[in-house]
């Protein structure tokens, strides 16, 4: 007798746990051949609110970690991704990729995580400055993370877009609520499992599935979201998010490009979601003028 396969239940990821949507709703995305991919959570506004609460709760400890520690954790994500390579390739193929393209996408995604892992403890070295003010002060400027960032993920890819948009944002210490690609959600759900087993504290990355518009409206208007990343090419959605950003002067970050390209990564993807802080400290100016050594 042949063995009966166990079918995976696709759940969302909030605060380090895997609940179903509180709404109890689902949808069935289809692949290119018209085959159903499975029952996927159709997230609600309330899910988005819960995710923001979880993200805010995680922000303090994540942002205060040593940058070096975050870099190690990001590298751990890459290690876990590498171990799950076959699963991601399988899901990409199921969602319509060719085997070769799927392989390339997964490998590029892993390398991109490693790339950003290397950035964590270098961002401030490259972007910070000591400012030669005319008064006797030690004056320096350093970027720090913004807080909770809402991300509408790229809707045209399942994995590489998601990774390219999420990883640089958390690298600096932000926490995120991500709305996955509506029609290509499988890798986002599996990526949540990777995050869950990579020493990333619960709440740093929260991943919701479904039609982006509904939860996005919450992210757009939520007073506890510091910035919104426009990662999809939906003109209508982006326009409404730009508009609602005025409520609390949410930073609006445009992040749309062909993520499969090797150069679709960089320092500015990180600093876009950071704030610059300048510190002044007095310096006495006594003695030493006669020293000639």
């Amino acid at each position: 007798m042949s063995r009966l396969e166990i079918i995976k239940t696709y759940k969302i990821y909030i605060g380090g746990a895997f609940p179903r949507t509180e709404s109890g709703r689902y949808y069935v995305p289809l692949n290119k051949k018209g085959e159903p991919l499975g029952n996927v959570c159709l997230c609600s506004k309330k899910d988005a609110k819960n995710a923001v609460v979880a993200a805010r709760k995680a922000f303090g400890s994540w942002s205060e970690r040593a940058a070096f520690n975050r870099s190690q954790i990001l590298y751990r994500i890459a290690e876990m991704l590498e171990g799950r390579k076959a699963q991601f390739v399988e899901e990409l193929v199921l969602q319509g990729s060719t085997q070769k393209a799927a392989q390339q996408e997964v490998e590029a995604s892993i390398d991109r995580v490693v790339y950003y892992a290397g950035w964590c403890d270098k961002v401030s070295q490259v972007t910070g400055s000591v400012n030669p003010v005319t008064s006797s002060h030690f004056n320096f400027s350093v970027y720090q993370p913004m807080g909770v960032i809402g991300i509408i993920a790229d809707q045209s890819t399942s994995l590489i877009g998601l990774i390219s948009q999420v990883i640089p944002v958390i690298a600096s210490g932000n926490t995120v609520v991500v709305l996955a690609a509506e029609n290509l959600p499988l890798c986002a759900v599996t990526f949540a499992e990777v995050i869950n087993s990579s020493d990333v504290p619960g709440g740093v990355v929260n991943i919701l599935t479904g039609k982006p518009d509904e939860p996005a409206s919450v992210l757009g208007t939520h007073m506890d979201v510091n910035a919104i990343v426009l990662g999809s090419d939906s003109k209508e959605l982006n326009a409404s998010l730009r508009k609602s950003s005025a409520l609390n002067l949410k930073r609006v970050i445009e992040m749309q490009t062909d993520w499969s390209k090797a150069d679709a990564q960089g320092l500015y993807q990180i600093t876009d979601c950071m704030e610059l802080k300048t510190t002044w400290h007095p310096v006495e100016n006594i003695g030493g003028s006669t020293s000639s050594y």
Binding site: V114, Y115, A117, W119, D121, V126, P282, E284, G287, Y293
Partner: protein
């Protein structure tokens, strides 16, 4: 408690807490690591490396001569031309990440071997040296594909083959400081560890081989000063990096200048540790102890010249003596030990000569009455008061647990005294007031200045000296420039 025979003085009631050595793997004999393989030395000669805590022989180490060095440089050149030069930064970085991870996996083994071979306490090798080594590789791994960000408006290029010579005080850490940035920038290396502490570098060679690094990218040749000189003089070595004493550094500089090689030097120091009268005294005393007795004082940036503001000198000296009384000198493998073994008999002799000299110069000697093991090389923590600025023990690098104390009245005076040295590696300042502290940090001529802390190191923080303490920086973004055109 573990009784140490033939000891004197006060007994401390600690049970011994020895780190196990059963999990380490050491061979009886180590060959040279050239072109990805361990090969026998051309001369067939080997020398012993010993455990300075006991005097027992740990292993026989191959002695490389000019022929071996030439072979190593050729292997490095071949790897550079055929593979490493053209490899993308991303892939180079991935190798370095791998090395970092393997070091983390085997951290305890490396720590124990470092302690056996160098005499430093297990607490230090376990909690300071080896974690810093892994972090250093991890940090520079991330730079390999980001070099264009480090030097805007400049087309960066690797140099070629780097010859690197490292000292015995931080054997593995210095190897990491040399190898990681060199590889991240696309160079290949020939590294010579110190003759008294070659083991962890050779274990690193094994680990590098296990990491699958292409053959010849890292070559490790062991030997004495003549082996080092052969590396420096080799026609096909493009860059020389040296950490060690100032006299040897000057010779290397001379050869490098003559032959038109790029060079960086991290040399000796006689660093000032300055206690202002508003400093938190107890913290400062801990800082003084850490500054001079860390790693038995075998630290190029050791805070070996203590300057205390006159109005708090009495209390600082009293508290310092009390604190010194509680330091435990003994078996480095014991987790209770604060001060381990002096690295070699030769170094112990040098330290004793300086202590004798201090007494002859009229300074007042203080050593706590602590017990010292009968075998091996040990030195009690030592303090000199009544020291003149011109005294040799206040001017020359001793490289041992010997501290000189001078006092000062004004900030101007201490800046003059502190800067009056041919060296300029590091300095420490202790004050409760940030504005006073930054005044001194900006006026002291030293490559690293610690405020209300001492002997802190981090892969992201550049390290290196002014004046005769050498030139070039290791660590941080600036550490990359030593290995780029």
């Amino acid at each position: 408690m573990a009784k140490n025979k033939k000891t004197e003085g006060i007994e401390w009631n600690y049970s011994s807490s020895l780190e196990g050595t059963s999990h380490i793997q050491l061979q009886k004999k180590y060959d040279l690591f050239i072109g990805g393989k361990f090969v026998k030395p051309h001369s067939g000669k080997y020398f012993d490396t010993i455990n300075p805590a006991t005097g027992e022989v740990l292993a026989a180490i191959a002695q490389a001569d000019e022929t071996d060095v030439d072979k190593a440089v050729k292997a490095a050149r071949k790897a550079y031309n055929e593979i490493w030069k053209n490899m993308s930064g991303k892939e180079r970085g991935k190798y370095l990440f791998r090395i970092a991870r393997l070091i983390q996996d085997r951290a305890r083994e490396f720590a124990v071997i470092e302690t056996l071979d160098a005499g430093k306490t297990i607490r230090e090798s376990r909690d300071v040296d080896v974690p810093l080594v892994a972090n250093h590789f991890f940090y520079y791994a991330g730079w390999a594909d980001k070099l264009e960000y480090a030097f805007p408006n400049r087309k960066v290029e690797s140099l070629g083959v780097a010859g690197q010579i490292i000292p015995w005080n931080f054997p593995l850490l210095m190897a990491a400081w040399k190898i990681a940035p060199a590889l991240a920038c696309g160079n290949t290396v020939v590294l010579k560890p110190a003759e008294t502490t070659p083991l962890t570098a050779l274990k690193l060679a094994e680990l590098i081989r296990d990491a699958g690094l292409p053959d010849g990218v890292v070559n490790i040749v062991t030997g004495y000063g003549d082996t080092g000189e052969a590396i420096v003089r080799h026609e096909d070595v493009d860059k020389v990096a040296f950490t060690g004493s100032t006299p040897v550094g000057k010779r290397i500089h001379e050869i490098a200048m003559e032959m038109g090689k790029k060079c960086t030097l991290e040399l000796g120091g006689k660093s000032a540790n300055i206690i202002l009268d508003d400093a938190p005294i107890d913290q400062a005393v801990e800082g003084i102890v850490n500054g001079i007795f860390f790693n038995q004082g075998h630290v190029c940036c050791a805070g070996s010249r203590l300057f205390v503001q006159e109005n708090v000198a009495d209390i600082v000296v009293r508290k310092l003596k009390d604190r010194m009384q509680s330091l435990i000198v003994g078996n480095p493998l014991d987790k209770n030990t604060d001060i381990g073994a002096i690295n070699s008999e030769k170094q112990l002799k040098t330290i004793h000569q300086y202590i004798q000299l201090g007494v002859e110069e009229g300074a007042e000697l203080y050593q706590p009455e602590c017990r010292v093991p009968a075998n091996g090389f040990y030195c009690r923590p030592t303090l000199f008061t009544n020291v003149a600025q011109s005294s040799r023990i206040a001017q020359e690098e001793i490289f041992g647990p010997v501290l000189t104390i001078q006092t000062f009245r004004t900030v101007d005076e201490v800046i003059q005294k502190a800067n009056n040295s041919p060296y300029g590696l590091a300095a420490g300042v202790w004050s409760d007031k940030g504005s006073r502290l930054f005044n001194l940090t900006s006026k002291l001529n030293a490559g690293v200045v610690w405020g209300n802390t001492y002997n802190r190191f981090d892969p992201s923080s550049p390290f290196g000296g002014f004046k005769e303490s050498g030139y070039g920086r290791e660590g941080g973004l600036h550490g990359l420039s030593a290995y780029l055109k």
